[in-house]
Amino acid sequence: MENKTYTISVYSENNIGLLNRISAIFLKRHINLLSLTTSESEIKDVFRFVIVVEVPSEQVRKVVQQIEKQIDVIKAFYHTDEETIFQETALYKVKSSALFEERQIQNIIKHSHANIVTVSPEFFVIEKTGFREETEKLRTDLAPYGLLQFVRSGRISVTKAKMGISEILNTFKNNKNR
């Protein structure tokens, strides 16, 4: 079966060791993660993992079933790129001299809609948020001017469809109060 890019979203408790537990599910099946990002979600104390993998649809379904089975996981979903809105952020550190010596670099920054985060006598830092192709293009464009450092975040993503995590948590609360 054909590989496809899937974004897995995991809503969970914020417990030590859960990251290990989730990554072990991929390890056991010999799946490489393309990216992994975690942060607090729209609900306080509920965390959200965003994991990107490239696997057949059968496999992503089974993996998500296994993730959701974990005690501290509230709910797990998987989506195709078309079903999500996603971005990555990249930081580019360039020598400050390049900014003044090479006029072209100013055009690159302007056209890429990147932001200058900081400027010092030695270096300046550009930030660009967008799709992979966009951050990658800026990287290629800046490369001739000497990229001192480059780093790109994992994918962050929200889904077009509703997640309904609050409803799940409320059902639990109501059942408990009964």
């Binding site: 290990n20 537990r21 959701e68 996981v73 059942n175």
Partner: protein
């Protein structure tokens, strides 16, 4: 006084307790009804052992001879009592020695709580003496695990541990407690865990799935049931029996489902899978509706998935959503506790008798009887067979014994031929295939069901993997009957070498010690049988003994277990010889 007031009073009486974390652990165990634990002491768990000493009247600790033995004993206990087994170990090697038993409990869904000591929290990560990352190590093989670094966490976390271990699909939980948390004093209060917001142990039964399943069953001409341990774990034996009797559907078991239905039941068609019975394996690929109940389509059951029951509609009654469509696609998935779903389904189905279809099972069974079973149980050759040894145990147990098996040829033979009258009587390592499981598991099995006869049937290989537990049997005076079927070979591996590796017997022949002398060294009475005429009396003597007893039965060295579905072959390609 009703139970509730009593419980309230108990809680109130604990309100003012200012105690150490170690004592809290003991009180939590008692509050969870655990009055029997298996374990092995060591530096990082000494505060808890000190409390065990103080509480020895209420909480019986069984000192095994190795931590692995503690886990298997806890498993055996859980499997026959239906309660949560508890194992204790110290940090480092104590904790790592638990891993095999934990992995075994995970894959066979056995409720178990393991408590490990850990170095003091200020030493975590410093590579301290006997420090190991047991949370990291045990993560992939536990249902849940947690490291406690403060005494105040103990009541809530242990309550959660027991709740998680026993609820839903049961499994092992490991709680690692730093030594300083064991020493620390705090105000103890215990409240049982009744729910966790991120965890739904039992899915809500959807009536539509019952309706769809019932419709399929009612229109089926050749329906077939395969049941697994879910029937036992769900205490659904009666509901299951009612279901098959009303539907008249022939049923076969996976190795862990064994004993949920008496062997003698007319609809019990035997075992499916690699060394299962001829009829149920072959007819898997002829049935029109396959009803899988509390089983997970293990590869040893299905053989080649591409040719597994492709002609049939599949109904899967299952508790764990992750098992649905994992290996075999379910046309109808009934997600629920099977006790509930079976009862609902029984109401909706029409009473039937599938006489012609059952006749097919009987015809194929006659072939297996002639080609395999007769030769196994009533051999005419000189050497003893494993089959006749098991049959002799049947004769004397009358099917009332708990049979504990290890892994290998003896296990397959015992599960094929042992007779069972009641549930929770088959204790074996199924999914993980852990050699060395049986001897310690038999200790727990007996302690979990002290009024029942427990016979451990073990191969000479697996026996020597945990043979030191004879010491536990002697010290605790656990009246288990130990039968070693000795062929001086790692028989199953040898069988594969014979069939698939051109008889290159690489490291499978064993030069064995005098097992009777070893048993006697542990003050366990025993004898050895080498010929047919002595077998009956030897087994009779063993079964009549009120004490632990050891019986070595020397069997044919190079017998094979048949039928057999070679790895990766279709269930239709089952071989009789």
């Amino acid at each position: 006084m009703d139970a509730k007031t009593k419980e309230q009073q108990q809680t109130q009486s604990q309100d003012s307790l200012h105690i150490s974390g170690a004592e809290a652990v003991i009180r939590c165990l008692l509050a969870e009804g655990a009055n029997l634990v298996y374990g092995y002491p060591g530096g990082a768990i000494m505060p808890i052992y000190d409390e065990l000493y103080k509480f020895q009247d209420q909480l019986h600790h069984v000192l095994t001879r190795h931590e692995q033995g503690a886990t298997h004993a806890a498993q055996g206990y859980a499997r026959t009592s239906g309660k949560v087994g508890v194992a204790l170990a110290t940090s480092g090697p104590g904790a790592t020695n638990l891993v095999t038993g934990i992995a075994d409990a995970q894959i066979d869904s056995t409720p178990m709580v393991c408590i490990t000591g850990q170095v003091a929290s200020h030493l975590l990560g410093s590579d301290a003496f006997q420090e190991t990352d047991i949370i990291g190590i045990s993560t992939p093989v536990t249902k849940w695990n947690y490291q406690i670094t403060k005494a105040s966490e103990i009541p809530e976390i242990l309550a959660k541990a027991f709740y998680i271990a026993r609820s839903g699909r049961p499994g092992p939980v490991l709680i690692d407690i730093t030594k300083d948390a064991q020493f620390e004093s705090f105000d103890f209060q215990y409240e049982k865990c009744t729910g966790i917001r991120s965890y739904k142990p039992v899915p809500t039964l959807e009536q539509t799935s019952i309706d769809e399943a019932a419709a399929l069953i009612n229109s089926a001409k050749k329906p077939f049931i395969v049941w697994g341990q879910g029937v036992i774990l769900g205490n659904a034996e009666d509901a299951f029996k009612a279901f098959i009797e009303k539907s008249g559907i022939p049923a076969a078991w996976t190795i862990l489902g064994l004993s949920a239905l008496p062997t003698s039941h007319p609809l019990n068609m035997g075992m499916v899978g690699m060394h299962g019975n001829y009829a149920p394996n072959l007819l898997t690929n002829q049935c029109d509706v396959l009803i899988a109940i509390g089983m997970r389509f293990d590869d040893r059951v299905t053989g080649d998935l591409k040719t597994y029951a492709k002609q049939a509609k599949i109904i899967h009654l299952e508790l764990d959503p992750a098992e649905i469509n994992k290996n075999v696609y379910a046309d109808v998935a009934v997600l629920a506790d099977c006790r509930e779903s079976l009862a609902a389904l029984t109401q909706k189905i029409e009473p039937k008798t599938h006489t012609d279809w059952i006749q097919k099972f009987k015809a194929l069974d006659a072939i297996e009887q002639e080609k395999v079973i007769q030769k196994d149980l009533h051999p005419t050759k000189a050497g003893l067979t494993m089959g006749e040894a098991v049959e002799m145990i049947n004769k004397h147990s009358k099917g009332d014994a708990i049979i504990v098996t290890d892994v290998g040829q003896h296990q397959m033979v015992a599960c094929r031929y042992a007779k069972f009258n009641q549930s929770k009587s088959n204790v074996t390592s199924g999914g993980l295939g852990t050699m060395g499981f049986a001897l310690p598991a038999a200790i727990g099995a007996k302690m979990g069901a002290p009024d029942r006869e427990v016979v451990a049937i073990i191969g000479d290989g697996g026996y020597q993997m945990t043979i030191q537990e004879l010491g536990t049997i002697f010290q605790q005076d656990v009246a288990v009957k130990i039968v070693v079927l000795n062929n001086d070979f790692l028989g199953m591996v040898r069988q594969w070498q014979q069939l698939f590796f051109d008889r290159r017997y690489a490291s499978t022949e064993m030069v064995n010690p005098d097992f009777v002398t070893i048993a006697k060294g542990y003050h366990i009475e025993g004898t050895s049988v080498k010929d047919r005429p002595s077998l009956d009396k030897a087994v009779a003597t063993m079964m009549a003994s009120k004490k632990p007893y050891f019986l070595e039965i020397c069997v044919e060295k190079e017998d094979n277990v048949f039928p057999m579905i070679p790895t990766g072959a279709s269930v239709s390609d089952i071989r009789l010889e």
